[in-house]
């Protein structure tokens, strides 16, 4: 990534960090009627689709027309998939409803945004487990580098009782609070009206040491660990998972503000999008100059670096 990429806008539909006695965090949802005013489209949208489309709508206010729509999801529309799979079983694979099938596909949110705004531009969805958002972001950065403007990139994942029970039974949520969220960003190569800069993005599969991974990235940008004043860690409460963060804590200056973002949004495949949203907010509010985001899930690692304008 060589071109500078600016975050012009960002919007979030996410949990407020309070599980209220639940096993997982659920997003605080807005009044969808005011954001998706076409009842014909709205009636075909399930909860996750409404969350995604509404977050995109917040980013696209003032009639901004994106030159590309890039979405990311780890598990896609799980609720709709469950509904469709249940129908396959109960109806013996016959006479299945087309709407449930359409809603169960991973790229349906990107498609609904395009339909709503009649956008026939580049439209891509990334489903790469816990690197889904980073993959979508990398594609968006390449589009910015190509000179395209107003790239709409977003990440959406949902959590409710069924996936929670399944993940719990599979042992994926030991000491972990699950979560969900819909986050969208409008990226551009022009700084006009921007709130933050996305300086670097790197992904890796089981890098030898997390601190070397981060140090190399900082050096490439002419920065030192001491320059980081906001440190967003993706630890989720599982001791084994959180090991790399102890190493990174020794690298990042003790003077930097440390925020464990999954305590606010919960653990889910595209949670780093929530961290990027938090970093953009903090930078826009003048509370930080450089923010470092580190995520780790299974063997996948990612690091994002944001800065002020």
């Amino acid at each position: 990534m060589s071109a500078t990429c600016y975050i012009k806008r960002h919007a979030a539909i996410s949990p407020g960090g309070d599980a209220e006695g639940k096993n997982y965090l659920t997003a605080a949802e807005p009044d969808y009627k005011s954001l998706i005013d076409n009842p014909g489209l709205r009636r075909r949208m399930s909860r996750i689709i409404k969350m995604g489309v509404a977050a995109a709508q917040m980013c696209l206010k003032d009639d901004i027309r994106p030159e590309a729509i890039v979405t990311a999801t780890g598990l896609g529309c799980v609720g709709d998939t469950e509904k469709f799979a249940s129908q396959i079983l109960s109806l013996g694979e016959n006479l299945l409803n087309p709407s449930t099938f359409i809603q169960s596909t991973f790229n349906t949110i990107g498609a609904q945004i395009a339909l709503l705004h009649k956008i026939e531009a580049y439209n891509m969805t990334y489903v790469h487990r816990s690197l889904s958002f980073e993959s979508a972001l990398l594609d968006s950065l390449l589009l910015v580098e190509e000179g395209r403007h107003n790239i709409l990139v977003g990440a959406i994942d949902e959590m409710y009782e069924t996936p929670y029970t399944i993940e719990q039974r599979m042992g994926l949520l030991r000491n972990i609070t699950a979560g969900e969220g819909a986050h969208f960003f409008l990226l551009d190569s022009e700084p006009h009206d921007a709130c933050a800069t996305l300086l670097a993005l790197e992904t890796g599969s089981a890098p030898a040491t997390a601190d070397c991974f981060v140090e190399t990235l900082l050096q490439a940008k002419g920065l030192q660990a001491a320059d980081i004043d906001l440190w967003l860690t993706g630890e989720n409460g599982n001791t084994l998972h959180d090991k790399p963060f102890a190493t990174l804590d020794r690298l990042v200056a003790p003077t930097s503000r440390r925020l464990s973002y999954k305590k606010i949004c919960g653990e889910y495949p595209t949670a780093p999008a929530a961290a990027l949203s938090m970093a953009a907010d903090e930078i826009a509010g003048g509370k930080a100059r450089y923010a470092l985001i580190y995520n780790h899930s299974q063997e996948y690692h990612s690091v994002m670096l944001c800065g002020s304008l």
Binding site: R43, L91, N97, P98, S99, I102
Partner: protein, 85 residues
């Protein structure tokens, strides 16, 4: 017939997710498709075919008849009334 019309309207609301409507909001004689009436589309047509097959055991053999049968709740109810087993 009146009971069937009421039942059909409720099924359309449930199956087509017309969540902001009640059976009373649907005009029995008004067109189901196009801008004038309920504003349904081709995916909804597929859903209605499924309602006929699943709930009434009726299969439309001649697709050319579809336009006439699916015109309104009234035409749908008449077709069901004359074809159900």
């Amino acid at each position: 017939m009146e009971e069937l019309v009421k039942e059909l309207k409720q099924q359309l609301i449930d199956e087509l997710n017309l969540e902001e409507m009640t059976p009373e909001d649907i005009d029995t004689e008004a067109p189901l498709f196009g801008d004038e009436g309920l504003g349904l589309d081709s995916i909804d047509a597929l859903e209605i075919i499924l309602i006929l097959e699943r709930n009434y055991g009726i299969k439309i053999e001649n697709p050319a008849e579809g336009k006439e049968i699916f015109y309104s709740v009234d035409t749908l109810a008449r077709y069901i009334e004359s074809h159900r087993a």
